[in-house]
């Protein structure tokens, strides 16, 4: 074994050079992600309101629930989550490798293509061209534009990784490198076998479940944990508790995460849902090791570090990760004897994964790295804190009622003597509360957007002003003469 990789992220790199190479590409990615998350929450809110008011926007063809919900998922997952992950990954590659970003123009073009793809995709969903596969709803033609964009960014990331000066790999490097390759593999496989050359019958559903499992069970954990293991040691100024535990979590996530997707109810040979259940239970190992590792790193000093908004986001994200894995495992095991499938637990667990875990970690990472990227602070730290509280409260109100509601819904759904409409009626109260949660999340997203734009303006304004002054200096001088 060589000298162990540094267990705390490298602190003293020629930060200015590194940051300069990243500024424009990352700002493009993060501002776009911020806009997408606002768009997503608008769609989410419309979808949520429709449960109380089925007639709300009912005559608008494009805004029927069955189109708004996929549009919400598309803008949330591809517009925000993956785009933010790309930006944060580039930061990690640059900072951990201590080499400036290679070919920033690739990232800029890639980011534009990605956003073009997602825009076309979401518009495609709204005009009724969704693919019909949940979480992969964007139409095929948009998916290929997104894929091309991702590949361009990916090439820049791999080149940056290749040129790294720090040859030893920090654990986050493992996670982020695997994540970088993971997404194009699963995305292109799913697009090829489901849309370009579709397979027959239920094999389609199996592949769609495989894709979703890989996205939520492997890609998100890889990209998210890379941030957790980088930013938590950084923000707490403590070394990572255990590199081995972190690498153990890495192996668990890549070995088991992609197998967790097939539900018990699936009309597929019984070994598939059974294997999925086993793998979901094994994922608990990853959750436990991450919990131990973060706990050891922070060493019981959360309370002292409480005022730090990015750290708060990361903390909630880690809790979301652990909860999502454990609850998913419990629900798949329970489902075999007391079905919980088809209830509101399914979307609640999904949201806990992509929002409670992943989006929260991304918010934390972005809030933590933007001041260092630009060398200026947020114009209003209060608004950052306000976003945190809105996000936390919104998350609780959006997810918890659905999960609790499902506890009442599942027995009713499985009791044939309870009429179905009564089952639906029983969930309405919980849905109402979750609409409130969606509203809070939406307000939080507006603040997020405002914060990013605010810090970018704060960075650029002096430059623009001085550039303007220089450019117009002659003019003023001339005026002065006349």
């Amino acid at each position: 074994m060589p000298a162990p990789a540094p267990t705390s992220a490298p602190l003293a790199a020629p930060a200015s050079d590194l940051a300069v190479s990243l500024r424009v590409p990352l700002l493009i990615l993060f501002v776009s992600a911020g806009i997408w998350v606002v768009i997503a929450s608008a769609f989410g809110l419309i979808a949520s309101i429709k449960f109380h008011q089925p007639n709300f926007l009912a005559d608008s063809l494009s805004l029927t629930y069955g189109r708004v919900r996929p549009a919400f998922l598309g803008s949330m997952l591809y517009g925000f989550c993956i785009q933010a992950a790309l930006g944060v990954s580039l930061w990690l590659f640059v900072r951990l490798g201590r080499a400036p970003l290679a070919q920033p123009w690739l990232v800029i073009v890639g980011a534009k293509l990605w956003n073009l793809g997602v825009t076309i995709g979401v518009l495609g969903i709204l005009i009724g061209q969704q693919s019909g596969f949940e979480y992969l709803d964007v139409p095929g033609y948009a998916a290929w534009i997104m894929m091309l964009g991702y590949l361009l960014v990916g090439v820049a990331a791999v080149l940056t990784f290749h040129r790294r000066i720090e040859r030893n790999l920090y654990v986050s490097h493992w996670f982020v490198l695997a994540a970088l390759f993971w997404f194009p593999w699963i995305f292109s496989t799913a697009e090829l076998l489901l849309i370009k050359y579709p397979v027959r019958g239920m094999a389609q559903a199996a592949i769609a479940w495989w894709y979703v499992a890989n996205l939520k069970g492997t890609f998100f954990p890889l990209a998210g944990l890379a941030c957790v293991f980088y930013f938590i040691p950084k923000l707490t100024s403590h070394e990572l508790h255990s590199r081995h535990l972190a690498l153990f979590a890495f192996w668990m996530v890549i070995l088991f995460g992609g197998w967790c997707g097939v539900p018990n109810s699936a009309p597929l040979p019984a070994w598939m849902p059974t294997l999925s259940t086993v793998m979901s239970v094994l994922m608990i190992l990853a959750a436990v090791t991450v919990a131990l590792n973060v706990h050891g790193t922070v060493d019981g000093r959360w309370s002292k570090l409480g005022a730090n908004a990015p750290l708060r986001f990361l903390r909630v994200g880690v809790c979301g990760f652990i909860l999502a894995i454990i609850l998913s495992a419990v629900s798949t095991v329970v489902d075999a004897s007391h079905p919980v499938a088809f209830t509101w637990l399914t979307p609640a667990l999904a949201q806990l994964n992509y929002y409670g875990f992943f989006a929260m970690v991304m918010f934390g990472a972005i809030y933590s790295l933007l001041p260092r990227l630009l060398g200026v602070g947020f114009p209003s730290p209060k608004l950052v804190r306000a976003h945190f509280w809105l996000a936390l409260l919104g998350l609780l109100l959006a997810v918890a009622p659905l999960g609790i509601g499902a506890l009442f819904e599942a027995p009713a759904l499985n009791n044939p003597n309870v009429p179905f409409l009564q089952v639906v009626k029983g969930t309405l109260l919980f849905l109402r509360v979750s609409t409130l949660g969606d509203l809070l999340l939406g307000v939080g997203h507006l603040l997020f957007c405002a914060n990013i734009v605010g810090i970018a303006l704060r960075f650029f304004r002096p430059r623009v002003v001085s550039a303007y002054d220089t450019a117009t200096a002659d003019l003023f001088a001339a005026e002065g003469c006349s």
């Binding site: 629930y65 069955g66 493992w174 239920m202 592949i207 992609g258 699936a266 088809f342 309405l428």
Partner: protein, 304 residues
Amino acid sequence: MNFGPLVFLAAFFAVAGSWCGFVLAPQLQVGHLQQDKVVGTGNPYPLARPGLAQQGLQVYRANGCASCHSQQIRQTGTVCDVLLTDAGTNHAALIAGLLQAKPSLTESDAKALVAKLPQPIVQGQTKEQADAAAKVLNAAGGKALVWIAPVGPDIARGWGQRRTVAEDFLYDYPVMPGSQRVGPDLANVGMRLPDANWHLLHLYAPQHAAKGSTMPPYRYLFDKRKIDAVASPDALVMPTDLMPPPGYEIVPKGEAKALVAYLLSLRADAPLFVSPFTAATPAPESTNAPASTATTNAPATNPK
């Protein structure tokens, strides 16, 4: 040491592993499924949906119906019932047989049973118990049949006769099994609600057809038209409170008709080797299940 290649290979083989498990293996196992034979009649199942229903599948996809409706019937198990269809000639022996097959019967109950055939004698048995009971009754000169009955909450709700199997989706693209039941399961909606006009009205005004429903109305699948010389034969027959202004009519667009054709084609009513059951009533003529599939009262052959 440079772990970069190791991380790459680890990721590659991990993806390849789950790819073999949940892409390649399903493709080999269910991706090459062919039409199955209906148990009893040997008719092929499923037949491709008719053209209009295939267009309807695309309307179902485009409007994201699968966001709220699953098409997966779950089954918790299978039980067997014994049905006595004919008393034969030796009633005394048959009644003795009945008392043996179902010890809880009294002699007078047994006599009453025999008077009104066909009658289920024992229900919810295992295959072995049911076979034993049927054997006793047949030996006593009666004619007893063993029925296979799938059970489970979904089936008790009347949402289907058996669990959904991969064959049911054989010709569909895209396959949309759904993940949530915000609305009822639709795997057999064509069998449950065979009336096209009900479906059209339900799409137009869900709360009218099902009070308290949270389904959004799909009025955009309908045209409100001024009646020309003659009213359109397709115009919806409206309850009075939904009626358009006099001189106007509500006519379903092509999408609405296609969607309803698709919904009516959703009927997994054929007993298959992988999911057998004994059909209770003759299935009406349908494209997805040949008429003769489920009409037989003969015991379904046991797959074992």
